[in-house]
Symmetry: C2
Subunit: 114 residues, 2 copies
């Protein structure tokens, strides 16, 4: 039964260059049977951010809780719980949390980006 209960999800620190206060867990991917993509949960605590970077694959995001700033394509909208976003391939982007509670979001990428 491929149900992943929330209490089984263990977020681990992300050690990418220029990531700060970021943890993540991979939840659904090839190990569960999904052939081409990977679902991950990210959490950024206050003051943290992902790298300002780009890559040759897209990602799809869903914001679970908290608020953040998504820098993308020259804009910096605030994103918050229940918003969705599409980050195209080869566009520089960054998630930042300058607010006072954790930002948590889903990020779906092709396997090669997981």
């Amino acid at each position: 039964m491929p149900v992943v209960k929330s209490n089984e999800i263990k977020l681990e620190s992300v050690s990418m260059d220029n990531a700060k206060h970021v943890t993540k867990a991979n939840t659904i991917g090839p190990a569960q049977g999904w052939p081409g993509d990977s679902m991950r949960v990210f959490r950024i605590s206050p003051g943290g951010h992902t790298p300002f970077h780009q890559h040759d694959y897209e990602h799809v995001n869903y914001f679970v809780r908290g608020k953040g700033i998504l820098t993308l394509d020259g804009e910096k909208p605030t994103v918050e719980a229940n918003d969705h976003a599409y980050v195209p391939p080869n566009v520089e982007h960054q998630f930042e949390n300058p607010f006072d509670e954790d930002l948590e979001f889903l990020c779906i990428v092709p396997i090669r980006g997981a």
Copy 2:
């Protein structure tokens, strides 16, 4: 800027046979640039359910709020906020909400299933 704010998401009634009290909205897909898959939001109000059915594509689910029963492969686990699930192709499944608050979840499928 492909950010879909939660207040722009308009859920519409699902008219599939044997669906009851189900609404949905497509949020991220080809129109936003995602080439192969579609992200949808589903809401099932108390007493509602999706059809007990199968199809030849998989789906990936994330449970946003409320609780439900996911019938899949002979089991009937309770699923609730922050759980994830993978429903393989060609396996009969159903989401039911016998509880007293709305069940809301994400469902990612290949475009041909959207």
